[in-house]
């Protein structure tokens, strides 16, 4: 029984569906979004499987608040003539004490950093305890470990930016810790220090690392990680009575197939 189109249906079709169709026909965006979002998941998943998404939200918060803090923060160790304090420290004080809602956004970024790292570890613990790193999800684990490393680097480089005593000496200690790595350590420390002093050059370099290079790498890695999640699906918990890793109906190619690049794999070639 075909329902008659109401006025409302017609409006929705005209205003929403038709433009979406137009876009999808030219880009595949709607089909792509459906492929990404409308996935089958095991019946017995729980809140534990939401930790990854929580980490993603924490990262998104850091990205947004960080981009906005960058509009007010000034990396520089020169003494600001009006305040008599180093530029970076003075700008942090300005953000925290003077600017409307600056204290809130800085607080979100500062505490959100810890939230991000804690969630990273909780997510990793969940994956480890559930055995979700096993075949065929090894590369998910590996990209995840790289994301963890990048997250720690974000914490390390961000800690210097307030340019107070804690930040400064913690960074001296951190740089010298890198210096104790065998063979390459002293060179790595020298690269991180960026010159004869841990000063303006170091601060500018770490600021660039903190807001350009490492986030770029992090976003790329998260993209790969999410693509793999969508492609391989979510594992059932270890206590599940259902068989793990059912193939997705929509994907024609079973996950076990290989391209045949390695001798003895592929389909009889």
């Amino acid at each position: 029984m075909a329902r008659r189109k109401t006025k409302r249906d017609q409006i929705v079709e005209l205003a929403v569906l038709a433009p979406l169709d137009w876009v999808d026909e030219r880009t595949g965006a709607v089909r792509g979004a459906k492929w990404f979002l409308f996935r089958n998941v095991p019946r017995d998943i729980s809140w534990a499987q939401t930790l990854g998404f929580a980490t993603l939200i924490a990262f998104a918060t850091q990205t947004l608040t960080g981009a906005i803090l960058a509009m007010y923060y000034k990396p520089g160790s020169e003494i600001d003539p009006t305040t008599g304090k180093p530029l970076a420290y003075a700008s942090i004080e300005h953000i925290t004490n003077d600017l409307t809602l600056g204290w809130l956004v800085r607080g979100m970024h500062r505490w959100g950093a810890s939230v991000f790292v804690i969630l990273l570890f909780m997510h990793m613990g969940r994956v480890f305890l559930f055995g979700a790193y096993k075949y065929p999800r090894e590369l998910l684990w590996i990209t995840g470990v790289l994301i963890l490393a990048m997250g720690m680097l974000m914490g390390f480089t961000g800690y210097l930016l307030p340019w107070d005593q804690t930040a400064y000496w913690a960074t001296v200690v951190g740089i010298n810790l890198n210096g104790t790595a065998p063979f390459a350590g002293p060179w790595l420390a020298q690269f991180l220090a960026g010159g004869a002093e841990i000063g303006s050059d170091t601060l500018a370099k770490w600021y660039a690392l903190h807001m350009l290079l490492i986030p770029g790498a992090l976003i790329a890695l998260i993209g790969i990680h999410l693509y793999l999640v969508a492609r391989l699906g979510i594992t059932s918990p270890p206590w599940s009575k259902e068989a793990a890793g059912r193939e997705r109906a929509a994907v024609a190619q079973p996950t076990g197939t290989r391209a045949g690049l390695v001798r003895g794999s592929g389909d009889g070639k």
């Binding site: 160790s77 000496w169 010298n176 104790t180 960026g194 010159g195 002093e197 003895g264 009889g268």
Partner: protein, 308 residues
Amino acid sequence: MSTNGPDTPHVPGPSLWPIGFAIGVACLLLGLVITWVVAAIGAVLAVTFGLLWARDVTRDVRGEVPEIRPETRAVSDRAAPAVVAAEEPLPAYTRSRFLEASLIGLSGAMGAVLTLPVLGFMVLPSFTGVEEDEVSLGPLDNFPEGEYVIATYLSHPEQGEVSRRTAFVRNNGESEAGEQSFTILYSRCVHLGCPVQPNGPIDEDNVKKIKNVELRPVLAQSFGCPCHGGQYNSEGNRTAGPPVRSLDRYSFSIRNGNLVLGELYAVGNVNGTGAKATISKYPWSVPGTHVDGLESWLYPIVPTQVTG
């Protein structure tokens, strides 16, 4: 041969080699802190079991070694009928192969031309222009015999306070050879580079300023680091906490009656005190790195610079 699926994942068979490998690695690490013999045994174990493990794991991928029959020749007058191999088409070097290769080659060359200078610019400035000038601390009578004086100055005044250097200077009087002796300790902790403080009161009433150098007498016969609790005695030897060697020292010279600080050097250990001390001197190294013993092999070359 794609028998692997979600229910029959591709996994290597069980193996005991990883356990041997792990024991080897553990021995190696243990040996680094105990003695090199244990480390050597550990290294041998780790390499042996690592190779065995790798051989085990890669068996599937490597495939069986094909049996090769020994070459034989028919011994007879008549030439054996020539076996004509099935004519295989010669591998042609086609236009598309050529274009493919030149595209890859050219893009690689262009990429290198673009990225190498950029990478060089990212890395090299950290290692150039880091030399420090010698600093004059003024006339010798600023340093009473047997007492420490804190000397501070800016090594790069244009960089501001971050370049402040601090030295603990003690006049030891004349050595047996009749030379003026000084103990000049560098204030950065050889654990991880925090600023070491003298354990005693500073005489703020008798501060002397000579050009950009400030001198403060201090009543201290030991030094401590606020970060992780490293403690040093009056000669800079470690007495407690995590430091791995004695405090770094400045080399010095005396010019026109002035004490002049030269380069820093690392100290393994100091025997004796003051002018009679025997100092095991090494080229300067990053805080936290060993300069003597087996561990120093881990840092064969160190860029010459004072970190922070």
